[in-house]
C-alpha cells in the first residue's frame, strides 16, 4: 500500500504546491512483513491460550455435570443436575465424602501458620546474611540457597523415622517440616529484597540513634513489605498444593489437608465412577487458588521473576 504512494509522488507536477495531508511515515522494512515464523508463532500462542481457557471452562462446567454429560457432551453447559433442582449435588457429594469440611480448616490453619512462621524466621535471617557485614555471610547464603535443590524424597526417610519416634508423625510434625523446608526459598527471596535497599537508610537510622534491632524492625523490615507479601503468597500456594509430605505424615483422616483428602478421595470415588463428584473435588481444591491468583497475579509473577532474576 505504501509502495503505490511512492510511485505516485514523483509523478505529481512540482510547479503548484498542493496542500495534502502529511503522508504517514513508511513502516521500516521488515517490521510489518508477515514472516511465516511470526504467523506460526502467533497462531500457536493463540491456540495455546484458547486451549487453556477451554480446559478451565471444561473443569468448571464438568463439576456441575453428571458422568454421562461429562463424557458425552464435554462442551455443553451442565443440564441434568440443574434440571432436577440440585445444581450443587457434586460439590455436596465431594464435600461430605472426602471430608473436605475438616480438611479446609486444617489446611487453612496449617498453611496460614506455617507461611507466617516461615517468613518470621526467614526475614531476620536474610537481613543478617545481607546487611550485617559478618564475614562468611556470602558462602552461608549460597549454602542455604542450595537447599532449594534438595528433593523432599532425599530427606523424608530419616525425618519420618525420627519424627514418628517422638510422636510427631501428625499435623504438628508436618507444620515443623513445612516451615523448615520453606526456609531455603524464602531466605533466598528475602535476601534479594534486602540487598536492593540503599545503605544510606541504615546509616541515617544509626545517626538518629536507633539501635541495630530497632533499625531492622522500624526501618528495614517495613521497606521489604512487598517482598514479605510475595514470600507469604508463594509459600501459601506451594504448601496448599503440597501432597507428598502430607501423604507420609498424616494418617488420621480427621486431620487431612485438602490435597491429602483429595488424594484419598480419588481412589474411592474412581471405583464408584463418581466422576462428577471427583471433578467437583478438584474444583474445590483449585478454586481458592484461582481466586488468590486473580487477586494477586501481578505480585506472584513479579515475586517469582525477582527471585529468578537475581
Amino acid at each position: 500500500m505504501s509502495v503505490t504512494d511512492d510511485v505516485e509522488a514523483p509523478a505529481r507536477p512540482p510547479a503548484k504546491p498542493v496542500r495534502k495531508p502529511p503522508r504517514k511515515p513508511r513502516p521500516a522494512p521488515g517490521s510489518k512483513r508477515l514472516s511465516p515464523l511470526r504467523v506460526l508463532g502467533s497462531a500457536i500462542v493463540w491456540l495455546f491460550t484458547a486451549g487453556n481457557i477451554l480446559v478451565l471452562y471444561w473443569l468448571l462446567t464438568a463439576s456441575f455435570k453428571t458422568p454421562v454429560e461429562i463424557f458425552t457432551k464435554p462442551f455443553a453447559l451442565p443440564y441434568q443436575w440443574f434440571n432436577v433442582g440440585k445444581p450443587f449435588r457434586n460439590f455436596i457429594y465431594a464435600w461430605n465424602n472426602a471430608g473436605f469440611g475438616d480438611a479446609v480448616l486444617t489446611t487453612v490453619v496449617l498453611v496460614g501458620l506455617a507461611t507466617v512462621v516461615t517468613v518470621a524466621v526467614s526475614a531476620p535471617c536474610a537481613y543478617a546474611l545481607t546487611r550485617l557485614g559478618v564475614r562468611g555471610s556470602g558462602p552461608m547464603t549460597n549454602a542455604v540457597a542450595i537447599g532449594m535443590g534438595v528433593p523432599f524424597q532425599t530427606v523424608i526417610i530419616p525425618l519420618f523415622v525420627v519424627l514418628s519416634k517422638i510422636h510427631l508423625d501428625n499435623e504438628y510434625g508436618l507444620f515443623l517440616l513445612y516451615v523448615a523446608l520453606s526456609i531455603p526459598f524464602t531466605v533466598f527471596l528475602m535476601t534479594g529484597f534486602f540487598r536492593s535497599l540503599p545503605d544510606e537508610l541504615e546509616e541515617a537510622a544509626a545517626l538518629d540513634g536507633a539501635s541495630p534491632t530497632r533499625t531492622f524492625f522500624s526501618v528495614m523490615l517495613p521497606l521489604t513489605r512487598g517482598g514479605m507479601i510475595t514470600a507469604l503468597t508463594l509459600n501459601a500456594i506451594g504448601l496448599w498444593n503440597e501432597t507428598l509430605l502430607a501423604i507420609v505424615f498424616l494418617k488420621d483422616q480427621a486431620h487431612f489437608t485438602l490435597s491429602r483428602a483429595l488424594f484419598t478421595f480419588y481412589g474411592a470415588a474412581s471405583y464408584q465412577s463418581e466422576y462428577g463428584g471427583l471433578i467437583a473435588g478438584v474444583a474445590i481444591v483449585v478454586l481458592p487458588m484461582l481466586v488468590l491468583y486473580l487477586v494477586l497475579a501481578r505480585r506472584i509473577i513479579t515475586g517469582l521473576t525477582l527471585g529468578a532474576g537475581k
Binding site: 531476620p124 523432599f152 524424597q153 484419598t264 478438584v282 497475579a297
Partner: protein
C-alpha cells in the same frame, strides 16, 4: 537519642562507629540462628543420614539398619523398576525441558510486542498454581480411554475422525506426561523469560527492525544473548523441579491409591513405593539409595548446566 549526633573529637566518633558496628554484628546469631538451625536439622542432617543409611540393609521403622556396603546400589541399578524410573526421569528432564524451553522461546518472540500479551501470560501461568495432584486427576479425565465414555482428548479425536488412543496405557503414559508437563510448566518459564525480555532496551529491537531483521534473527542476536543469565537460572529451576516429579505421574498413570505400573515410574515414585507406598514390603535401605541417586543427579545436572551456560556477563 539525639545525643549521639553531637560530634566530640574525630577519634571518639570512630569509636562510636566501631561500637555500632560491633553491636550490629552481635545481632547476627540471634537473627540468623533460628532459620539456620531449622535448615540444619531438617535438610542438612537428614541428607547426610540418607547417604549413610543407603549403605545399610534396613526394612524400615522397627528394624535396625545393618551395614551392607554397596549392595543396595548394585541391586537397584540391576532392577527393572529403577531402570524405568531413571530413564523416565531423564526423559522428563531433557525432553520436557527442550519442549518447555522451545515453547517458551517461541512465546517470547511473539509476546514481546503483542497486544494482550500480559493477559496471555497470566492465563498461561495458571496451571502452575494448581496442586499437582489435582492436575494429575484432571488430566486423567482429559485422557481417559473408555469406549462410549471418552475423555476430552479422545472425544475431540473421535470428533475429528481419528481413532481413540489409549493415552494412559503404561507404554504411552511417559509421552502423555511429558506433553502435560510441557503444557503445565511452560507458563512459568514464559513468565520468567518475559520478565527478562521486558528489561531489554527497546532501541535494540528498533535498530534491528530498521536493518530488516527477521524475528528469528532478532531472537538469535538480541533476545537470547541479553537473557542468557536468566535462561541459565530458569534451566536450573527446571532441572530441580522436573527431577522430583512425583504426584502428577502417580495419579495420572496409576489407580491413585498405590504406585502405577513400573514402566511409568520416576525416581520419586521409586522412593515412595519402597517406603510409604502400600504395595509390597518396605525397603528403606533401597529407598535411601534411590534418594541419593536423585540428589546426585540434581547436583551433576546443575553443575553441568552452569558450566555449559557460563560466559561473561553483559551489562546493559
Amino acid at each position: 537519642m539525639a545525643t549521639v549526633t553531637t560530634p566530640t573529637t574525630p577519634s571518639a566518633r570512630v569509636v562510636k562507629a566501631g561500637a555500632h558496628l560491633r553491636r550490629k554484628k552481635r545481632l547476627f546469631w540471634p537473627f540468623a540462628a533460628p532459620a539456620l538451625v531449622l535448615y540444619l536439622a531438617f535438610l542438612v542432617l537428614p541428607t547426610i543420614a540418607t547417604v549413610v543409611l543407603s549403605f545399610t540393609s534396613w526394612a524400615g521403622a522397627g528394624d535396625t539398619p545393618k551395614p551392607n556396603g554397596v549392595t543396595n546400589y548394585t541391586q537397584m541399578v540391576a532392577s527393572d523398576s529403577f531402570q524405568y524410573a531413571f530413564g523416565n526421569t531423564l526423559i522428563y528432564v531433557f525432553l520436557g525441558g527442550i519442549g518447555t524451553f522451545a515453547l517458551a522461546f517461541l512465546f517470547t518472540m511473539v509476546l514481546r510486542d503483542m497486544k494482550g500479551g500480559k493477559t496471555v501470560r497470566a492465563i498461561l501461568f495458571f496451571p502452575n498454581i494448581v496442586a499437582p495432584v489435582a492436575l494429575g486427576m484432571f488430566l486423567g479425565f482429559v485422557f481417559k480411554y473408555q469406549p462410549g465414555k471418552q475423555g476430552l482428548a479422545n472425544y475431540v479425536m473421535e470428533g475429528l475422525g481419528a481413532d481413540a488412543a489409549k493415552f494412559l496405557a503404561p507404554s504411552n503414559v511417559t509421552g502423555v506426561v511429558t506433553a502435560s508437563l510441557i503444557w503445565a510448566s511452560s507458563g512459568f518459564y514464559i513468565t520468567i523469560l518475559m520478565a527478562a525480555v521486558d528489561r531489554i532496551p527497546p532501541y535494540l529491537y528498533e535498530d534491528a527492525e530498521l536493518g530488516g531483521a527477521s524475528p528469528w534473527q532478532k531472537f538469535r542476536n538480541i533476545t537470547l544473548p541479553m537473557t542468557w543469565d536468566v535462561v541459565g537460572v530458569a534451566g536450573v529451576l527446571w532441572t530441580i523441579n522436573a527431577l522430583k516429579i512425583f504426584e502428577l505421574v502417580f495419579v495420572l498413570a496409576g489407580p491413585g491409591t498405590y504406585a502405577p505400573p513400573n514402566e511409568a515410574w520416576t525416581l520419586g515414585i521409586y522412593v515412595f513405593d519402597r517406603t510409604f507406598g502400600s504395595n509390597g514390603t518396605p525397603d528403606f535401605g533401597a529407598a535411601c539409595a534411590c534418594a541419593v541417586a536423585m540428589i546426585a543427579l540434581v547436583s551433576v545436572l546443575v553443575v553441568l548446566l552452569r558450566r555449559l551456560m557460563r560466559r561473561d556477563a553483559i551489562q546493559f
